[in-house]
Amino acid sequence: MALNVTDLRVYYRTLRGEVKALDGVTFSVADGEIMGLAGESGSGKSTLAKSLIRLDGRMRHVGGTVELDGKTMPLSDDTGMDRFRFREVSLIPQYSMSALNPTRKIGKMVGELLESRGERPERAELERRLELVGLSKDVLDRYPIELSGGMKQRVVMVVSTLLNPSLLIADEITSALDVSSQKAVATTLLGFRDRGLVTSMMVVTHDISLVYQIADTIMVMYAGRLAEKAPADVLVTAPRHPYTKQLISALPEVGVRYEDRRLTGIPGNPPSLLKPPGGCRFRDRCPLAFEQCAEQPPFAEVAPGHFVACWKAE
């Protein structure tokens, strides 16, 4: 098992109290697995992604453990985490367009970064990797401002995977791109895994249709908890959690004209995570809710590799 997360809790400190953005999350990602992580905004998916590499100033690791290749990661110890960052776990951030220092040539910046981590920069390898994503080696002698947005994103993808991390976290990396670039980025991610540059991957997105094309499994989060995790095609074709069902049915289908049948959303809003209600958090919006839902359902395996947190998901 590459990644084992057990009962992870990460809260945000705010003036009004603690926001329980990640409240008891247990799952694992296998070697070679590309896991899509989906959910609406505020579901905790970005919090989960960030927790695994670097907590920001307002986040607090309240409980639970994360193991990567058998080693426990000290999430709340910023310097202790440095041993894992880049080498074991790496990140392609949401803000790839502005992730590079604007006043350094890209090649120089990468060299300085590698040296500061005690690695020897190998220009030939760097050039080979750039070629893999369709960039010429000239970009190393350019400043970030001289590249297009798509090029910068590819540079960041190359830099992040340079030390062959065992877990790569891609955080909403396609949200700022047009459809054709989205496809190219998705293919590149697949290529990283297939060439063995990256062992496993967690692709955070709110675009299920995109992640469906590359992910082996998809995990859906709702209000700081896990709702469902299943192999990608199972989750899309036969979801069992009522939230996933409604989420999938809210996606537009090819060939359907929505003039006659309006595309429906999920009525209601997710609960506040400042003082979340007890029991299942989807209860208030769920058409199947009954008395037992006042008790929190376990994230149980209902079929091989298919986990659901719902009392009615048999």
């Binding site: 041993r83 960052r85 880049f86 790496s90 951030p93 992730a99 220092n101 604007p102 006043t103 400043y143």
Partner: protein, 330 residues
């Protein structure tokens, strides 16, 4: 690159022309008559002699010509390097008077501008990452930078000069000394230099420190910093990048502040009776000395323009982003 500097030079040329024209206009629109004040200084009783002298001086300074003719003559002699003759120190040429004062002004200005910029930036960057420093010393920075130069100068002169008696409060060297390269003279020079320097330095220092502190905090929140940190880059590298990027607006700030600093130095010189250009300007105004006033202003305008040009060039060297707008393949 060529077009960029061509455009810059054109702008500087235009600024120079307008500034020099205004310099020429200001003294001529001041109330009072310089020839009249020279005559009263001469103390001649006979009306006929007074009339003759008036005619002589008026013709000599070219004040009998129509204004447009005076203006053209002014540019003509300016281009020949002739700044005219001082009325206050008649008959010393204005250029001689200025050349004598310039070392004092530059000796004050250059160290105070460069040192305050350098030290302020260092200190601001340092304070940005220490909470207790940020909370205690930065308010002092705000007070310093909000202080008018001359007020701080007066305060320093009073506290360290009059009350504590450590430093002299007037002149560039002891009144009992002659200019020479002896140690006594140099010591006295340094002693007299310290207070005006300190008052200029402190005010500018506060401003730079606050600016840099804010810029560093902003840069440390930037995306590229978050990315480097997520990849485990050590603090040293991150700070180096942040400092380098935060300094850019400070370079622009230096260009913008130059004029203010020069003006501050002029006022400070007056407070300390320091014999630099500021002192000259005061004397020139009090004595209706058109030519000296013109000459001093001209010198200041040239100085500020040159300094700005140097900063423009430096900016192109330190920030690659300014280079992309210069046309051609970068």
């Amino acid at each position: 690159m060529r077009r960029y500097f061509g455009r810059k030079l054109l702008i500087y040329g235009l600024t120079f022309f307008v500034a020099v024209t205004i310099n020429w206009m200001i003294p001529r629109f001041m109330p009072g008559d310089p020839v009249q004040s020279m005559l009263s200084r001469a103390n001649v009783a006979q009306p006929a002699a007074v009339e003759a002298m008036r005619a002589h001086y008026t013709a000599m300074f070219g004040l009998d010509l129509p204004l447009w003719q005076q203006y053209l003559n002014f540019w003509g002699s300016l281009l020949k390097g002739d700044l005219g003759i001082s009325i206050w120190l008649f008959p010393t040429p204005v250029s001689d008077v200025i050349v004598r004062a310039v070392p004092y002004t530059l000796g004050l200005l250059i160290p105070s501008i460069l040192l305050s910029w350098f030290a302020g930036n260092r200190f601001g960057a340092f304070a940005a990452r220490r909470k207790w420093l940020d909370n205690s010393v930065l308010p002092i920075g705000y007070v310093l930078t909000a202080t008018p130069y001359m007020w701080l100068a007066i305060l320093l002169a009073w506290a360290l000069g009059i009350v504590a008696g450590i430093f002299p409060v007037a002149g560039a060297y002891g009144f009992d000394l002659q200019a020479s390269w002896s140690w006594t003279f140099l010591g006295s020079l340094a002693q007299h230099w310290f207070l005006p320097f300190a008052s200029l330095f402190l005010v500018a220092f506060g401003g730079w420190a606050i600016g840099m502190r804010n810029m560093i905090i902003y840069e440390l929140e930037a995306d590229y910093v978050n990315y480097l940190r997520a990849l485990g880059a050590p603090t040293r590298l991150v700070r180096r990048y942040a400092f380098r990027n935060a300094i850019l607006p400070q370079v622009t700030g230096l260009a913008l502040q130059l004029g203010v600093l020069v003006a501050g130095a002029l006022v400070t010189e007056i407070v300390f009776s320091y014999p630099g250009l500021g002192h000259l300007i005061l004397q020139a105004i009090q004595n209706q000395d058109f030519f000296l006033l013109q000459g001093t202003f001209l010198f200041i305008v040239i100085g500020v323009l040159i300094a700005n040009f140097i900063i423009d060039v430096a900016y192109v060297l330190v920030d690659p982003r300014t280079r992309t707008g210069m046309g051609g393949a970068a």
